[in-house]
């Protein structure tokens, strides 16, 4: 590792890896630091990603694909269910990744493109000069190092600390953290091409439970609930254990996964002098689905592109780096987050009776493309009375 780089990236998740790769490809000197000894492990994800979302960044390499999806199912509190199919015959709607391999592959590619990578290396403080970020203090196996950089990209995930040390409040409101527990289970009866979601206040208050296939008889079985609903005796893990005991009593758990997903609105500002914040650290997860892999890669890439032009202009001040903040907010991704936050606020207040009515109103939906937007639009069309109060939001779904 050198003592100076053009760009220093903190965090080796999808946001950091894509940021480092993009900046290196443009010819900048880049270093990515990851505090964990191994990229991608332990996993904190259900690993679902849409076909097009993946294609925007890489071809679907079999080494990191666990399952190919053809549809999705939603199960109501009373057991009625709704099946979502893609109209494009035979088309894959998405994948369940193997994030241990995927995340490592992305960092590997960044390294091959020319980025330096340091694992088991933790950023412990920013280097600040007159309030501007000029690099970071790093801890590597008991050694302290100072690395200067024109631009620091904080891609330090849900547990992000770096922006906070720079004076930016990243606290997630309790009611907007999805607290999650998941088992990777094997020897269970599932449909290996279908993701299944269970909703309802008994099964997953203000959240949902998922079964994401990882193979013919294996799946990520997990649950996320609102932090507000979590407490002693009724934590995410309690809900998961209850479900697994009744649904998959003979399944075997081969991996134990926990995590938090920020489903709040994004940070009010994601750029400062010498600093950009990307991925979960910027709180850019889709608030309705909890999906954050694509958004992490999208913001990581945009942050790096902004760094490239800022560095070539010789000015890395906040006003220049704000192009990044504006860029993602105005993008399709940014607009989807804004809209889905409102939808989430609507759905978390939904009663079980309403869920039952909605889901039993239609048993199969053939959508041109499976997306929350198309699903909600169809549900509103079929349930004008139940979802009448959603009508004003419906306008934004066109």
């Amino acid at each position: 590792m050198k003592s100076r780089y053009d760009v220093l990236v903190i965090g080796g998740g999808p946001a950091g890896a894509i940021a480092a790769g993009t900046a290196a490809k443009a010819g900048l000197s880049v270093c990515l630091v990851e505090k964990r000894p191994a990229i991608g492990a332990p996993v904190r994800c259900a690993e679902g990603l849409g076909t097009e979302a993946l294609a925007e960044f890489t071809a679907p390499d079999p080494c990191f694909i666990s399952a190919e999806l053809r549809g999705a199912g939603i199960v109501a509190p009373d057991g009625s269910s709704l099946q979502l199919n893609s109209q494009m015959a035979g088309s894959k709607v998405g994948y369940i990744l193997d994030r241990k391999v995927f995340d490592r592959e992305l960092v590997w590619r960044a390294a091959e493109t020319g980025a330096d990578v340091a694992v088991k290396t933790r950023a412990s403080a920013p280097i600040l000069e007159n309030g501007a970020v000029k690099g970071a203090v790093l801890q590597y196996c008991g050694q302290t190092m100072r690395v200067e950089a024109d631009v620091v990209i904080a891609a330090d995930g849900v547990e992000s600390k770096f922006p906070r040390w720079c004076g930016i409040d990243t606290t997630v409101p309790v009611r907007e953290i999805m607290t999650c527990a998941q088992y990777l289970m094997t020897d269970i009866d599932i449909d290996p091409t279908l993701t299944v979601f269970y909703v309802g206040n008994e099964i997953a208050p203000q959240g949902y439970l998922w079964i994401f296939p990882k193979g013919d008889r294996s799946a990520n079985v997990g649950v996320g609930i609102s932090g507000l609903k979590s407490g002693s005796g009724h934590r995410a893990r309690d809900y998961l254990d209850r479900f697994v005991a009744s649904k998959f009593p003979n399944g075997k758990t081969i991996e134990y996964i926990v995590g938090g997903v920020p489903v709040c609105q994004p940070l009010a500002c994601t750029a400062a002098d010498g600093l950009m914040i990307a991925g979960d650290a910027a709180r850019v997860v889709d608030p309705l689905t909890g999906g954050g892999i694509y958004n992490a890669m999208f913001t990581g890439r945009l942050a790096a592109q902004t760094a490239v032009s800022a560095i070539s202009s010789g000015k890395c001040t906040k006003d220049v780096l704000m192009a990044y903040d504006r860029g993602w907010r105005e993008s399709h991704m940014g607009k989807t987050i804004a809209r889905n936050w409102h939808l989430k606020e609507y759905f978390v207040k939904m009663t079980d009776e309403k869920f039952n009515a909605l889901i039993s109103s239609v048993s199969t939906l053939n959508l041109e493309e499976i997306s929350t937007k198309n699903l909600v639009r169809e549900l509103i069309r079929k349930n004008p009375l139940v979802l009448g109060d959603l009508a004003k939001l419906a306008l934004s779904l066109r």
Partner: protein, 60 residues
């Protein structure tokens, strides 16, 4: 005082994200509690596993 049950913790960082004081930090698999912890208990509430508990200081 905030107590971490280290055998229970799955080092996921969920608690770190909600602490209003920024008192928690995940150092790989080790959750560190800073001196600025006020014992408010928000982190203990959201932990998916119940690995955190605010215990009253017992005077010796």
């Amino acid at each position: 005082m905030l107590h971490v049950f280290r055998d229970v913790c799955g080092y996921c960082g969920c608690c770190v994200s909600v602490c209003p004081e920024g008192a928690l930090e995940l150092i790989d698999a080790y959750l560190e509690v800073g001196d600025n912890c006020t014992g408010c208990g928000i982190c203990a509430k959201v932990c998916p596993l119940g690995a955190l508990e605010v215990k009253d200081e017992v005077p010796v």
